[in-house]
Symmetry: C2
Subunit: 239 residues, 2 copies
C-alpha cells in the first residue's frame, strides 16, 4: 500500500453548535465551487492520530478553541452517500488540500465511497469567529432550521447531530458550553426551548434547575428594563 499521510477512505465531519438570539446555529463552509454548496467543517484523519484528536484538531482550526465539548454521534457509510454530481464537484478541489489522498476512484474510474464519522461540538457563540480554510469561499454560522444546500449527506448528518444533542443536553447538562460564563435562568430556559423546539413553563423550569444543585446564584443583573432584575448564575465548580 502506498503510504499516505491520511487515512484514504475515512473522514470526520463536525456539527459545531452555537446559541444566539434564540436560534441554534452551526458552522458551515461555503465551498469554492461553481455551484453554491455548503459543507460541515471536516477533514481527513492523520495516520498516527487518535480520531478524537483529529476532531479536536479540526475544531481548533475552525473555532480557535482548544477545550470544547465534543462527542461522536455516529458514522455515515451509505455506499451512495456521495452523489455523482457532488463527486464531480468536489473531487477537483479536494486534491489541492489533501494531495496525499488520491481521488477516490477505482480502476474502472468509478467513485469509491468515503465513510464519515460525525462529531458534534458545543461552543459559546460569542467567543467563536468561524475560520475558513483553503477550499472555503467563506465560513460562518447558519441557523439549523434554515440550512442551505449541502454537499454529500451533510444535511442528514447535521440533523442526526441535533437529535443526539437533544438526547444529551438534559441528561448530561451540557448547556454551559452553549452559554457565556454567567447567564440568567431565562437564558437557560430559552436555550432549552430552542434545542427542543417547545416551550418550558418558567416557574417549573427554574425549580427543576435549582433542584439540580449545579447552579450558583450570583448578583442580580440590572439592565435598565422596567421589570425585576433577574439573578445571574454560573455553574458550580466541579466537586
Amino acid at each position: 500500500m502506498k503510504f499516505s499521510k491520511h487515512i484514504a477512505q475515512l473522514t470526520l465531519d463536525c456539527v459545531i453548535f452555537g446559541f444566539h438570539h434564540k436560534k441554534l446555529k452551526l458552522i458551515l463552509s461555503k465551498l469554492k465551487l461553481a455551484k453554491e454548496i455548503y459543507a460541515l467543517p471536516g477533514g481527513f484523519i492523520l495516520q498516527e492520530e487518535d480520531i478524537e484528536d483529529a476532531a479536536k484538531r479540526i475544531l481548533f482550526e475552525r473555532t480557535g478553541i482548544q477545550d470544547l465539548y465534543l462527542e461522536e454521534f455516529g458514522t455515515f457509510g451509505r455506499a451512495n452517500r456521495i452523489s455523482d454530481e457532488d463527486f464531480q464537484l468536489f473531487s477537483g478541489i479536494a486534491g489541492d488540500l489533501y494531495p496525499d489522498v488520491e481521488p477516490p476512484i477505482n480502476e474502472n474510474n468509478q467513485k469509491m465511497r468515503i465513510v464519515s464519522i460525525g462529531y458534534y461540538a458545543l461552543v459559546d457563540f460569542e467567543k467563536v469567529k468561524p475560520q475558513k480554510i483553503d477550499l472555503d469561499e467563506s465560513c460562518d454560522w447558519y441557523d439549523i432550521k434554515e440550512l442551505p444546500n449541502m454537499i454529500f449527506d451533510h444535511q442528514e448528518m447535521a440533523h442526526k447531530g441535533l437529535q443526539v444533542l437533544r438526547e444529551n443536553l438534559d441528561k448530561k447538562l451540557l448547556f454551559n458550553n452553549l452559554l457565556p460564563e454567567t447567564f440568567t435562568m431565562k437564558n437557560v430556559q430559552e436555550l432549552y426551548e430552542t434545542v427542543y423546539d417547545k416551550p418550558f413553563p418558567a416557574n417549573n423550569f427554574q425549580k427543576k434547575m435549582l433542584d439540580l444543585q449545579i447552579l450558583e446564584r450570583l448578583d442580580k443583573k440590572y439592565t435598565g428594563a422596567k421589570s425585576k432584575a433577574p439573578y445571574l448564575y454560573r455553574l458550580k465548580p466541579r466537586t
Copy 2:
C-alpha cells in the same frame, strides 16, 4: 490508488448478544494463532456496500439469521488500538482472508491504524449456533462477565456495546429479540436483571410491563412445578 475490494483501513466488529440461563452471552471467535486469543466477529467492508449491509452480511455469516436487530454503537479509532503484539500475531493470518487488503504497514514498515465501527445485535440464543469462518479455530457463546483474553480493543468494544444496550433495552423495548417467540413474565424480568445486573421486584415489574400495552397474554404454561402456572406472553403485533 490501487483498487481493493475492501476499504483498507476500516473494519466492522459485532457484539452479538444472546440470553441463556440468566447469563448475557456474546459470540466470540477463538483465533487460529499461537497464543490463545479471542475476537469479536467482524470483517472488512466491501467498496460498494452500505456499512449497515456489511454488518448484516457479517451477522448472517455468523448466525445464519437474516433479520435481526442491530445498531451501531460507536467507532473505535485510537491510534494505538492495535498493540504491537496483536499486530504481529494477526497480520500473518489476515492476509489469507483478505488478500486484497495489503498488510497495514507504512513505507517505514510501521503498522498503520485500522478504525473499527462497532455494531451490536440481539438474537435468540436458542436459534443461533455460532459459525466459525476461515481464521477461527472455533466460534462460540461466552459470558460477558467472564470474557477471555481478547485481541485489539475488542474487550472495550464489548463493554461499550453492553453500555449502549443498557441505555436502549428499556427505551426501545428490545427484549423480544433476546427471548423466544413466547415467554413468561419471569423470563423478561430475568433478562432485565441480567442486562442491568440488579434485581427488579416482581410485582412492580409485571405492572410496568403490562401497562406498556405491548404484551399479549396467552395460555398458561404448565411445567409440572408445584406452584401456580405462569402465563405465557408474546409481543402484540405491530399496529
